[in-house]
């Protein structure tokens, strides 16, 4: 019993919250792929800039 609600209601709230959490995990995974690609690009640019004699 939380906030006067029965177990079924509390369980439903937990399921909705879990779904939001799962969605956040998917977004984080997609974001990770994007920033990893960006970080690799930055690294290549830095190496090229270091090698450039001009």
């Amino acid at each position: 019993m939380l906030g006067g609600h029965d177990a079924t209601y509390v369980r439903a709230v937990w399921l909705v919250a879990s779904a939001v959490g799962a969605l956040a995990l998917v977004v984080l995974a997609l974001l990770f792929r994007r920033v990893r690609a960006r970080a690799e690009l930055d690294e290549v640019e830095r190496v090229l800039a270091d090698d450039d004699p001009s």
Binding site: M1, L2, G3, V10, V13, W14, A17, S18, V20, G21, A24, L25, L28, L31, F32, V35, R36, R38, A39, L41, D42, E43, R46
Partner: protein, 198 residues
């Protein structure tokens, strides 16, 4: 991956930060992923009284931490903006992510002790499991404040840290109640949420 985890540890302990912003964001997301895995380990230990609870905790504990962080983060960013602090939102989120990683690292380190005491001591099992959570929370809060203080040495940014930590704890209390039982099948006083604790 090992090099990245090593970099993450360096960042968490207040060492040198990555050169590019993209790399820092990548490490922050990696910190969240690693933190969830570490929290899962502690969840299995705390729920080892029954196989069903242990399996459920492997998913419930990381989810509780992730949801509490997601609930608290917007308020921290708003506090940052309202106080006109120099610290950026991404920097705040990055410091928050690494501090959560630090806290869950403490949880995972204490997980074997929690498991063995839960099975062998009727007096110390439950207090030790709860104690490990408080130690982890204190560690994470201190790491967070230190990480922010190293980025920008101004009091305004620390207000955002206080707001974020307070909201994280408030959200954690209710998400723990929603996901209960977590520690043992009989549960704790925290299983009733705010209404039972206060």
């Amino acid at each position: 991956m090992q090099a990245r985890l090593s970099q993450l540890m360096t960042m968490t302990t207040g060492g040198e930060r990555p050169q590019s912003r993209a790399e820092e964001s990548m490490l922050a997301i990696l910190a969240i992923g690693a933190a969830l895995a570490l929290a899962s380990l502690w969840g299995v230990a705390a729920g080892s009284e029954s196989a069903q609870l242990a399996v459920a905790n492997a998913y419930k504990v990381p989810m509780v931490i992730l949801l509490s962080a997601l609930t608290a983060l917007p308020a921290g960013i708003v506090a940052l903006r309202l106080t006109n602090a120099r610290l950026g939102a991404a920097e705040l989120a990055g410091a928050f992510a690494t501090s959560i990683f630090g806290g869950t690292l403490v949880l995972a380190t204490l997980a074997p002790l929690v498991a063995i005491y839960y099975h062998t001591s009727s007096k110390a099992g439950l207090p030790l499991a709860l104690g490990s959570v408080f130690v982890a929370l204190a560690t994470a809060s201190l790491l967070f404040a230190r990480a922010v203080a190293r980025r920008v040495s101004e009091r305004k940014s620390l207000i955002a840290v206080g707001v974020l930590v307070a909201l994280f704890l408030a959200a954690l209390l209710q998400f723990v109640a929603l996901a209960a039982p977590i520690i043992g099948t009989h549960g704790t006083a925290f299983d009733g949420g705010f209404d039972r604790v206060f």
